[in-house]
């Protein structure tokens, strides 16, 4: 918009080209699923929903690689539908897959599956109800951020989109319910093995939640899916691990700098956008002070004694019966 033909041609070509690496990624994910034994748990719901939705969003993006079409669709609800299609399908769904997959690793108990699936279906159908009508509305001439509209032909599809938005809201509310219920039932859903999904990657070989030193011994990796191989030859590799000598571990000391720095940076950014100069000054000054305090910290590391590491690892040693 407003740029010359050369710039438009450049962006058009770039928009088309970006589909190539993205398509390669989609095939990566499909071939990862291919030949596997898929269990329909919450993370895979999100992952599959992500792939389908992201592909649709990507395809509507390529439509806008044609500069004349882009000219017409600029600022229309078609564009809004497209980028929500990739942002919700590609980012929100992916993030939700990651959260539900790694939650037990971080907190030591799994999330409620039933409510997790309910959240997914609310988001999935809510998304399609809310944003598919926007494609049509965009082609009918509706633009974004309207204070009001007088074209009654848009009304039915707008109502469908509203229903979708309400469904998404329900999904968001259910996420909170899922978290509360999961916390209440945490004793029933404890992840005692550290490997609730029977995973293939190394983070599942350590207890949940992991100790501050993560791995007491660096795991030996000589092939893809090293943890899977370890589990196949259980009783040999794992046992040798447990009987090895432990060393004192150096780990970074807990440090609040990141929290305070982020707080000051948010204050600075927010104030600059809204031109609140005293807030901007305060945020900048705070960030500088926090940075200087961090620069003069010399006690950045603590030692975990070998006995403590050994005691923890013996307590969490894999048992023959487990897995």
């Amino acid at each position: 918009m407003g740029a010359g033909a050369d710039v438009n041609a450049f962006f058009g070509v770039m928009t088309m080209i970006i589909a190539v690496p993205t398509g390669v990624k989609i095939f990566n994910w499909l071939f990862t699923l291919y030949g596997g034994r898929i269990r329909f748990t919450v993370p895979i719901y999100w992952a599959l929903g992500f792939m389908v939705t992201f592909v649709i969003g990507g395809m509507t993006g390529v439509l806008m690689a044609i500069p004349p079409a882009d000219f017409v669709l600029h600022n229309s609800l078609f564009l809004i539908a497209h980028f929500h299609n990739v942002a919700i399908g590609g980012v929100v769904f992916g993030v939700m897959a990651g959260i539900s997959y790694w939650f037990p690793k971080a907190f030591g108990f799994t999330l409620n599956e039933r409510l997790g699936k309910a959240v997914f279906w609310c988001w999935f159908f809510g998304f399609y109800l809310a944003f598919m009508p926007l494609y049509v509305l965009g082609l009918m001439g509706a633009t974004r951020r309207m204070q009001h509209y007088s074209n009654m032909h848009w009304q039915p599809l707008m109502l469908v989109a509203l229903a979708g938005a309400i469904l998404i809201l329900l999904g968001i509310a259910l996420t909170g319910v899922q978290l509360a219920v999961s916390i209440r039932q945490r004793d029933r859903n404890r992840d005692v093995t550290g490997d609730p999904w029977n995973g293939r990657t190394l983070e599942w070989s350590i207890p949940s939640p992991p100790p501050v030193w993560n791995f007491a011994h660096l795991p030996r990796v000589d092939r893809p899916d090293a943890f899977w191989a370890m589990k196949q030859q259980r009783g040999t590799a794992q046992h040798r691990n447990v009987e090895r000598a432990y060393e004192t571990v150096h780990v970074p000391r807990n440090n609040p700098t990141g929290f305070f720095l982020a707080f000051c940076a948010v204050l600075l950014g927010f104030s600059l956008i809204w031109r609140i100069w005293w807030g901007a000054g305060l945020g900048l000054l705070g960030a500088i002070v926090v940075g200087l305090i961090q620069a003069w910290r010399i006690d950045g590391e603590i030692e975990v004694p070998a006995e403590k590491v050994a005691a923890f690892e013996r307590l969490h040693a894999p048992k023959e019966s487990a897995v």
């Binding site: 740029a3 010359g4 660096l218 030996r220 000589d222 620069a295 003069w296 010399i298």
Partner: protein, 226 residues
């Protein structure tokens, strides 16, 4: 030398997975290079915007009318010279001679301040004759590009003061020399950056000003091809 570095130097057959984590110097250097690359991406975008918009003067002053070649030459020379003195300062950090660290880094600081004050006075002059960033798309792009670089130099100068205070209070412990190493990378990148700004701004000006000399008229070119 840490165990992992020794293993690397010996080139023996310890598998990568058993060598342990890289030493902090390598980790910090790697992280800082990533930061510099992200900065280079920002400047590449600003360069591209300047290249696209450099002709869009909206009836306002053009680059040829505004920029004094001598002025910019002195600015560039200041920053390139400070890059050299910063290099000597880094050598002094490595050999642990505090006296030469203070000497070379103070010279670096003075050269940086000279560059910055020249730039500020030039910006002030441009604003006073009504050639501010709101005058035309060309000037918006110019002020964004050169102003972002100037902001980097300002932050670099503050960083340098902090580093000299750190040497004075904490001594040359590994943490401090590591930070000096990162500062050196930052400063060299800035000097290189202004060099590229100069080449781009003046290169495009000179090429456009001598277009008739540089590009032969079409009819004569066609005759030669026959």
């Amino acid at each position: 030398m840490s165990a992992s570095e020794q293993a690397l130097a010996a080139g023996d057959a310890v598998p990568l997975s058993l060598r342990g984590p890289a030493p902090p110097r390598v980790v910090a250097g790697y992280g800082f290079w990533l930061f510099l690359l992200s900065d280079i991406v920002i400047f590449a975008a600003l360069f591209a915007a300047y290249a696209v918009l450099s002709g869009e003067t909206a009836g306002g002053p053009t680059a040829a009318a505004l920029f004094d070649k001598k002025h910019v030459l002195i600015e560039t020379a200041c920053l390139l010279a400070s890059s050299v003195t910063c290099g000597f300062g880094s050598l002094a950090v490595q050999s642990g001679e505090r006296g030469s660290i203070y000497l070379w880094m103070t010279i670096t600081f003075i050269l940086g301040v000279t560059f910055l004050s020249l730039e500020v006075s030039e910006f002030g002059h441009m604003l006073s004759i009504g050639a501010g960033p709101s005058r035309s798309a060309f000037l918006s792009a110019f002020f964004t590009l050169v102003g972002t670089h100037g902001l980097h130099v300002t932050i670099g100068l503050c960083w340098l003061i902090v580093m000299l205070l750190q040497v004075a209070t904490l001594g040359l412990r590994p943490m401090v020399t590591r930070r000096f190493f990162c500062f050196g990378l930052f400063w060299h990148a800035l000097a290189f950056g202004i060099f590229v700004v100069g080449l781009l701004v003046f290169g495009s000006m000179i090429i456009m000003a001598h277009l008739n000399h540089n590009m032969m008229p079409m009819d004569r070119l066609m005759q030669m091809q026959r």
